[in-house]
Amino acid sequence: MVEVKNIYKSFGDLQVLKKVNYRFKKGKTTAIIGASGSGKSTLLRCINQLEEIDDGTIIVDGKKINEYKHTALVSKVGMVFQQFNLFSNMTVLKNVTYALTKVKKINKKEAEKLALAALETVNVADKKDNYPQTLSGGEKQRVALARALVIKPEVMLFDEPTSALDPEMVNEVLDEIKKLTKTGLTNIIVTHEMGFAKEVADEVIYMDEGKIIEATNAKDFFSHPKKARTKQFLNKIL
């Protein structure tokens, strides 16, 4: 579904991705783990062109991403951010309908119907007229999830979706993501929640210093890590 081939990315003198190769399996959930600065968020952000790669190719659904019209690419690839990034001057409902009406050109009434259904699935429909500032972190992230889902993407990117949440709200968001992993969506999740990765991920990638150190199925990854650096990392955090 998503394949990255020999990608490189630098920010000025800092090389963040060094020849990264990976094929994300269709309909599966892949967790990307690693220390801060290992390049995992950058890898994710390259897939929907929030960052442009310096070299290499990224293929989504059989086609190179630079051959897509940007709007066509993002209708296949949804994203949920660490800081929710809801539009602060729009109500919850407007946040979710906005891209439907402006990008997909769906009429307002139909868009609102779709948006309400999406809000319903993540249990925040009752907040539809609120502004984001009045919501809890967990609610904000669920709205952000609805906003990404309503586009009906085939790939969903999660950039540390629970890192900005208060501890008591982490689970309500993880529960929603967990539901998504059973819908056939291709999920790619950058996370620090090892327990969650263990539970929902089919595949796990461990990154360090801009390279993929180890990538395998979740069970083997956590029970029999092969590389010394992976073991070291897991020992430190588990």
């Binding site: 929907n48 062109q49 929030l50 940007h70 709007t71 690419l73 993002v74 209708s75 949804g78 994203m79 951010f81 800081q83 929710f84 990034n85 809801l86 539009f87 602060s88 001057n89 729009m90 906005y98 891209a99 402006k102 990008v103 609120n130 502004y131 500032q133 009045t134 952000a144 906003r147 586009i151």
Partner: protein
Amino acid sequence: MENLFNYHAIKEWIPYLLKGINITLLIALIAAIFGVIIGIVLVVMTNHKITNKLAVAYIDVFRGTPLLLQLSIIYFALPQIMDRLINDYLNFNISFQIAGLTAAFITFSLNSGAYISEIIRSGINSVDKGELEAAKALGISKFHVYKDIILPIAFRNSFPSLMNEFVTLVKESSIVSIIGIQDLMRRQQIVTSQTYMYFEPLVIIGIIYYVVIKILSYVGRKVEVKLSYGRS
């Protein structure tokens, strides 16, 4: 008490003093409107390599010198230098007198433009980069990002500062009295010259300024709450 504040003697002058508020507000309003326009132009200019230096210099000069000096240059010095340049060197005979009110409009607009450009710029900078990323990740066009996200949020965030600038303009406009414009301050001077009273007309115009500014602040706060999107 009667000797302290001679209401009886000032009473007949109150309507005359009150009329000064029209000029005061007119200058502030014109300066605010053109100040916003000039401010936007300056923000656009600072974003382009070629015009950046010019805009920065403009802002620097207007913020780095007193308003009274700027007004004096436009009203007194500019006609004189024009006269020397055109009439003396080229042997023309054109009158370069500038009307006081015109000079005031120009000076206050140019001056507030420099301040307002800084306000607008920081308003645009205050828009959360994450929201812009989210818009990009959803495929929203640049035009819609500006129209629906950046400008409304920048306006909301800079509204208190813009209101503050307007209040400052109302107060600062009192310096136009030195070029003879009959604003509140000038009218007080005229009343004083007619009645030999300083205290009474000063108290009256003080109250007028204060009440007008209170009303403006009140309206400003109401609008601010409207713009806060449930934030406050």
